[in-house]
């Protein structure tokens, strides 16, 4: 298990380095144009050159990359070109909002999709059709449309939930929950739609395995077989889908934070993209990738625990 874990951590670290380097190259490859974009069309060439020099954009790309990396490993991702706030600090300050959303969406999605998947696979009938309908709906309607519909109907028209703003958990847990209800609901729909369907079909698949029949022949109760044996073997494919959903979720929060004006990382990303604040944009990419790698690691460990065979391969 330790070897397995070590290998996964190493491959995650390599992934992070490669993606950071690629993103850096993509973002900074336009060189001199960056300063021009920042200063606008009316700046003189001299001003642009001066700005480029100030930001270190006149150096060779490789040198900039190495420079960025040597600082990044110490946790220093540079400063915002606009507010001079350290990038790490800017991201950390907004992390609680995004993490609240992501954590809630993931937890609720796991509970809902396992319950729905189990019911759909074993009871069939109405629940099954509803789950399949939801799967099509989730694939058919983009998440941000769901968010927009929710905010216009439940927040702006019916005024049941606040349309915008975030209340920290420490300040008022009830208001925190209320402020996150709609954004989380908007994202949960898509995640559950995709994973409940997957869990349903893998449960149906496992129920057909020979060993389930043998377990039944031993006289073990149906509930025990379902919850202990079937669910355990059916979980890994569901978890894999959930890991992919998580990646999509990080994109989804960007849009949802915008719709609900929540000051999270997505909000920061859009803000710094519009004004060309490249160090912040790069920092956001690196942080999101770190989150993805951590979640994938957690899911790998979970799959390894659920399925002893996966530990060796």
């Amino acid at each position: 298990m330790l070897v397995f874990l070590g290998r996964r951590i190493l491959s995650g670290a390599i992934l992070l380095v490669v993606i950071s380097a690629l993103t850096f190259t993509l973002i900074f490859s336009t060189g001199g144009n960056i300063a021009r974009t920042l200063l606008g069309d009316y700046a003189t060439d001299g001003q642009v050159a001066l700005k480029a020099q100030e930001l270190g954009l006149d150096r060779p790309l490789v040198e900039q990359l190495v420079n960025w990396f040597t600082h990044a490993v110490t946790g220093d991702f540079g400063r915002s070109w606009f507010t001079s706030e350290p990038v790490t600090q800017a991201i950390m300050g907004r992390l609680p909002v995004t993490l609240s959303i992501v954590f809630l969406v993931m937890t609720i999605s796991v509970v809902l999709s396992v319950t729905l998947g189990l019911l759909a696979a074993t009871k069939r009938g109405l629940v099954d059709r509803a789950t399949q309908g939801l799967a099509i709906f989730g694939a058919a309607v983009p998440g941000f449309i769901v968010a927009i519909v929710l905010v216009t109907t439940l927040a702006l028209q019916a005024r049941i939930f606040p349309a915008t703003g975030f209340v920290p958990f420490g300040q008022d847990p009830a208001a925190w929950a209320l402020s996150l209800f709609l954004p989380v609901a908007a994202l949960v729909v898509g995640t559950v739609a995709a994973s409940a369907q997957q869990i349903r079909s893998s449960i149906i698949d496992v129920l057909r395995r020979d060993y389930v029949r043998t377990l039944r022949s031993r006289g073990l109760g149906e509930r025990e077989i379902l919850l202990k044996h079937v669910l355990r073997s059916a979980s890994p494919p569901g978890l894999t889908v959930l890991a992919l959903q998580f990646v999509g979720l990080l994109g989804g929060t960007v849009i949802v934070e915008q719709v609900f004006s929540l000051p999270g990382i997505g909000f920061l990303a859009v803000q710094s993209t519009t004004r060309g604040d490249l160090p912040v944009v790069l920092g956001v990419v690196v942080f999101t990738v770190i989150m993805v790698i951590l979640i994938n690691l957690a899911i790998d460990v979970l799959v390894g625990w659920l399925n002893p065979k996966a530990r060796i391969s």
Partner: protein
């Protein structure tokens, strides 16, 4: 970007069976609706100039956020621009961008997937790694970064998004190619000297083309959603009208004019939904095409505990109580796709006494295993017991109303009084639990032993079935032991609660010849020690000769003949039994049957 590229984003060979799938989609009302919506939306967008003469960017500040009117059928936006014209012109860039993303994804994923799957090796390792990398990138965040660096071009965004979506084609193609590569007809093509390029284009691409089309439809929908999402964030190119931008403007003015938000939201939803539903409909058509002939569900039928109309125990014929197990006039049916039923067991009657071994012999498909599963109450969900009785130790097990074995009567018997040894050892142990857990859990659950006592008993059982190092096997996972060992474990599990009746379904078929003999010997020993009645399902007369007291010969779901094993083997009265016997012994030296040193033991 021309209309042609949009209408058929995939340029693959169109062999015959594809038309069949297309026809199926056309018959599916949902699929045809989705297709119609797409065709209408795409043609309306590209014919925008003919539909409305209004310039989508012409502002009219005298009518801002106006409702529908003669001049503006869908009203105007916050700058007084015509909503209908903007919607139609916006469709052009939307569809073209979706086509670009799909084509890039195809170009990135399909050839690489073909090569990686067909040749494997370093290319496969490298591309698979890149795929994993791309899949851990949140698309929206990457597209934001690209927008920050490269500017607000929808074409750059969608090309990049296509690259990010490449993995979905790559994985699809690679997996299919790997499975096809092993097929015999591909080997045959290779042997007959066809070049790799021809094999790939003719055989391999043939298999993956339908999934690729489905995936392309789904990806086009996703691309439209993402593109609209980026524009909604205000990150699009503002020079041309787009749906996402209209959504953004509408959202900002939602309190002033909710209707203005509705149109772009509706357009985006309709089109993404149409793509998703079309993909779904294509998939259904494809699966129908492949699966219809074998729709047997194999989950187990559950009968509620409280049920009316059970055959009362008293109605069991007096003669039936004399035997351990009596099966009388048993018929089992499966529904067919056309509404008729198929009888797999037809009027089967036999009995098993205490301490007696009865064999059911027949070819595959003769109904012998179905008969065994009926007695265990483990028939697949779709099967039903049409007629007959199963009486175990005087208890009628068949519930007339439900057409299955009564769960309330079967539950107390299963494992403790009726046990089962399956055919395939490896697939009958749960890979996620240790051998020890699977052995001791029923002891705790059914016999009420403590965990420690159950472990002790399980270790004894493992020793009894001849496992050399019980402690190690107890702690092992199923994939860590051999097939022969696994079968011993399953036998240990079956006899762990000292059942009265053991039902063994071809217990040696999946094993090596040398192991077969040992397992038969083990079954024989256990049977005589525990005085179990055994119902042995087999196609092997060697096994019958070795173990059984009586034998039932089945063919085409009926019993051909039954009786004493010596009589049947030496003087079979039916031609079929003779044929079966001859085929079993064909090419082997005839041996003296029923002697203690018969082939099974000495092998």
């Amino acid at each position: 970007m021309t209309e042609a590229t949009i209408a058929s984003p995939v340029s693959l060979p169109a062999p015959r069976s594809r038309t069949r799938i297309v026809r199926r989609v056309l018959r599916d009302p949902v699929g045809i609706t989705a297709l119609a919506i797409l065709i209408v939306a795409i043609s309306a967008s590209y014919l925008a100039g003919f539909i409305t003469p209004i310039d989508p960017n012409a502002t009219d500040l005298s009518s801002v956020l106006a409702g529908p009117s003669g001049a503006h059928p869908l009203g105007t936006d916050s700058a007084g621009r015509d909503v209908l014209a903007r919607l139609l012109w916006g469709g052009q860039s939307t569809f073209a961008a979706a086509a670009l993303a799909t084509v890039v994804a195809l170009a990135a994923g399909v050839p690489s997937g073909l090569i990686a799957g067909y040749y494997g090796g370093w290319f496969d390792a490298g591309t698979s790694w890149i795929t994993n990398m791309l899949m851990s990138l949140p698309a929206v965040v990457v597209l934001l970064a690209a927008r920050a660096a490269l500017g607000p071009s929808v074409w750059i965004s969608m090309a990049l998004f296509g690259v990010l979506l490449g993995p979905s084609f790559f994985r699809l193609v690679r997996t299919s190619v790997i499975s096809v590569r092993g097929e015999l007809y591909v080997d045959a093509a290779r042997v007959s000297g066809l070049s790799d390029a021809r094999i790939i284009s003719r055989h391999v691409l043939y298999v993956v083309r339908a999934p690729i089309v489905i995936q392309a439809a789904i990806i086009a929908g996703i691309a439209i959603g993402i593109q609209a999402g980026l524009e909604f964030l205000g990150l699009g190119d503002s020079s041309a009208p787009t749906w996402g931008m209209m959504l953004n403007e509408g959202f900002r003015n939602v309190l002033l004019s909710p209707l203005f938000l509705l149109w772009p939201a509706l357009a985006i939803t309709l089109v993404t939904a149409a793509f998703a539903v079309l993909g779904n409909s294509l998939r259904d058509a494809l699966e129908d095409d492949e699966i219809t002939p074998r729709t047997k569900g194999r989950a187990i039928k559950h009968i509620p505990h409280s049920e009316a109309g059970l055959v009362p125990t008293g109605s069991v014929a007096a003669a039936d109580t004399d035997h351990l197990l009596v099966v009388r006039d048993l018929s089992v049916e499966y529904p067919r796709a056309d509404g008729t039923t198929k009888r797999v067991v037809d009027g089967v009657s036999f009995h098993v006494d205490r301490g007696e071994v009865v064999g059911i012999v027949g070819e595959s498909g003769s109904g012998k295993t179905q008969t065994a599963f009926s007695v265990l109450g483990l028939l697949p969900e779709t099967a039903s017991i049409a007629e007959g009785h199963i009486v175990f130790d005087g208890i009628e097990l068949v519930s007339r109303t439900s057409g299955a074995v009564s769960r309330s009567r079967m539950d107390p018997l299963r494992g403790t009084r009726i046990a089962y040894v399956p055919q395939e050892p490896m697939s009958n142990l749960d890979p996620a639990f240790t051998v020890g857990y699977q052995l001791s859990r029923p002891l705790v659950k059914r016999l009420g032993l403590s965990r420690a006592a159950a472990k002790k008993r399980a270790l004894e059982l493992l020793a009894t079935v001849g496992i050399p190092d019980p402690g190690r096997t107890y702690a092992a996972y199923p994939h860590e032991i051999s097939g022969g060992m696994a079968q011993r474990v399953l036998i240990a599990g079956a006899v762990s609660c000292e059942p009265d009746l053991l039902i063994a379904d071809e217990p040696t078929t999946a094993l090596d010849v040398t192991v077969q003999a040992e397992v038969l010997e083990l079954l024989r020993t256990l049977q005589s020690e525990l005085r179990m009645g055994v119902l042995m399902v087999t196609h092997n007369f060697g096994v019958v000769a070795d173990l059984c007291d009586r034998v039932v010969v089945m063919r085409d779901s009926r019993i051909v003949e039954s009786g004493d094993v010596v009589t049947i083997l030496s003087r079979p009265s039916e031609d079929y039994t003779r044929t079966l016997l001859a085929s079993t012994l064909e090419g082997k030296t005839p041996r003296t049957l029923l002697l203690s040193d018969s082939a099974g033991e000495t092998a």
